[in-house]
C-alpha cells in the first residue's frame, strides 16, 4: 500500500469544473474487473496528472491532465459512469 495514494475525493475539485453532476458519489464500473465504486472511494495517484485506479484491481479508471485552461480526460477504464442529474432548488 502506497502512502502516497489518496482517493477520488482529492480529484473532485478539478472534476467538478467539468461535470455539473456531483462527482464523488458518481459510481463507475471498472473495465478491468467489473467492481463498482463511487469516485470518492477509488484510489488516486498524482504526478504529472491525476490517475484514478480501481481499489480492487489497480487498473487505471480515469486519467486527468490540465494546463490550467484545457483539461484532458480519459475515462476508458470505466465502462460507464452513473451521474445524478442536478436537482433544482
Amino acid at each position: 500500500m502506497d502512502a502516497l495514494k489518496l482517493d477520488g475525493n482529492a480529484a473532485a475539485g478539478l472534476l467538478q469544473e467539468i461535470f455539473t453532476a456531483e462527482v464523488t458519489t458518481a459510481r463507475g464500473m471498472c473495465a478491468g474487473c467489473g467492481a463498482v465504486e463511487p469516485v470518492g472511494a477509488v484510489s488516486l495517484y498524482s504526478g504529472a496528472g491525476m490517475v484514478l485506479r480501481c481499489p480492487h484491481c489497480d487498473a487505471v479508471l480515469v486519467k486527468v491532465v490540465t494546463d490550467g485552461t484545457r483539461i484532458w480526460l480519459d475515462a476508458r477504464g470505466v465502462r460507464a459512469l452513473e451521474l445524478h442529474a442536478p436537482t433544482g432548488p
Binding site: D7, E17, T87
Partner: protein, 250 residues
C-alpha cells in the same frame, strides 16, 4: 439543505481572511469571508490556490471545519515544517489577505442527517477537521443520531478542538468522544494509549447491526488500517466512507 448534486461547474472564489486563531501549537483555524459562497455540507473540502507575484502557483486541499450554519468558511490548517503551502497559511497570512478557494467539493464524504442508526467517526490527526464540521452540524441541528468519535492523536496537546469536544460530549446530546494518545499521555491518563487496531475498534465501534455509517479520515495508512479493521469485524464496506489526507498536502 441542497441535494447531493451540484448546480453549475465549480470555479475559483476570492476568499478574504477575517480571523486567524491557534488551535494547538501546530494548527490554526483561519476564518474566511467568501463573497458569493453557496453554502456547504459538513465533510466537504475546498481547494486552496496561492499565486506568487511572478505567477508561480501552488494548490492544496483543505477540509472545511465550520458547520454549514456559519456564513463564513473556516479551515483548520496543520503546519508541516517542510510544507510549501501550510507554513504560508499558518505563519504569513493576516486578516485582509486574499487567497482563492474552489469549492465546496464532495458529496460522498458528507454528514447524512438522515442516517438511520449509529454513526462512527474515526479521526487520525488532522483528519479530525471534516469530522468536526460534522460534529458541529450535528450539534447545531440538535440531532439525536447516536454518534461516537474515535480520535487518535500523538499527545494530549495535539488534540485539536479539545475543549469544544469535551463540552459537546458531556453525555446529554448523544455524542461520545473516545481519545487514543499514541505517543505520550498525561499523568493519570486512563484512556487508550496505542494506535487504532482491530482490538481497539472491537471495543469502541458500534456493532455491524447498529452502524448506519462510519466516516474515517486521516493519513492514508491510518484510513486503510481502520477500514480494514472494521471490515474484519464484519462491517459492510459500503457503510464505511473514507477520506485520505496525504503528504502531497503541505
Amino acid at each position: 439543505m441542497a441535494g447531493a448534486a451540484v448546480l453549475g461547474r465549480l470555479t475559483w472564489h476570492l476568499a478574504e481572511v477575517v480571523e486567524i486563531r491557534p488551535e494547538t501549537s501546530q494548527t490554526k483555524t483561519i476564518t474566511f469571508d467568501v463573497p458569493g459562497w453557496p453554502g456547504h455540507r459538513a465533510g466537504q473540502h475546498v481547494d486552496v490556490r496561492l499565486t506568487a507575484e511572478d505567477g508561480y502557483q501552488a494548490e492544496r486541499s483543505y477540509s472545511i471545519a465550520s458547520s454549514p450554519d456559519e456564513s463564513r468558511v473556516e479551515l483548520t490548517v496543520e503546519r508541516l515544517d517542510d510544507g510549501e503551502v501550510s507554513p504560508y497559511l499558518t505563519d504569513e497570512l493576516r486578516p485582509g489577505d486574499a487567497i482563492e478557494l474552489r469549492g465546496p467539493v464532495g458529496g460522498y464524504f458528507v454528514w447524512d442527517p438522515q442516517a438511520d442508526g449509529h454513526v462512527f467517526l474515526v479521526a487520525g490527526g488532522s483528519g479530525i477537521v471534516p469530522l468536526m464540521a460534522m460534529v458541529r452540524q450535528r450539534a447545531a441541528e440538535r440531532s439525536t443520531i447516536p454518534t461516537r468519535l474515535l480520535y487518535s492523536s500523538r499527545r494530549w496537546d495535539d488534540v485539536i478542538y479539545r475543549d469544544e469536544l469535551g463540552r459537546l460530549a458531556d453525555g446529554s446530546g448523544g455524542l461520545d468522544v473516545v481519545h487514543t494518545l499514541t505517543r505520550t499521555q498525561p499523568t493519570g491518563w486512563d484512556g487508550y494509549s496505542r494506535r487504532v487496531d482491530r482490538a481497539l475498534l472491537d471495543e469502541v465501534a458500534p456493532t455491524p447491526s447498529e452502524l448506519a455509517l462510519a466516516y474515517v479520515c486521516g493519513p492514508t495508512p491510518f484510513v486503510e488500517a481502520v477500514a480494514e479493521g472494521l471490515v474484519g469485524l464484519g462491517h459492510d464496506p459500503q457503510r464505511i466512507r473514507t477520506e485520505r489526507f496525504g503528504p502531497t498536502g503541505g
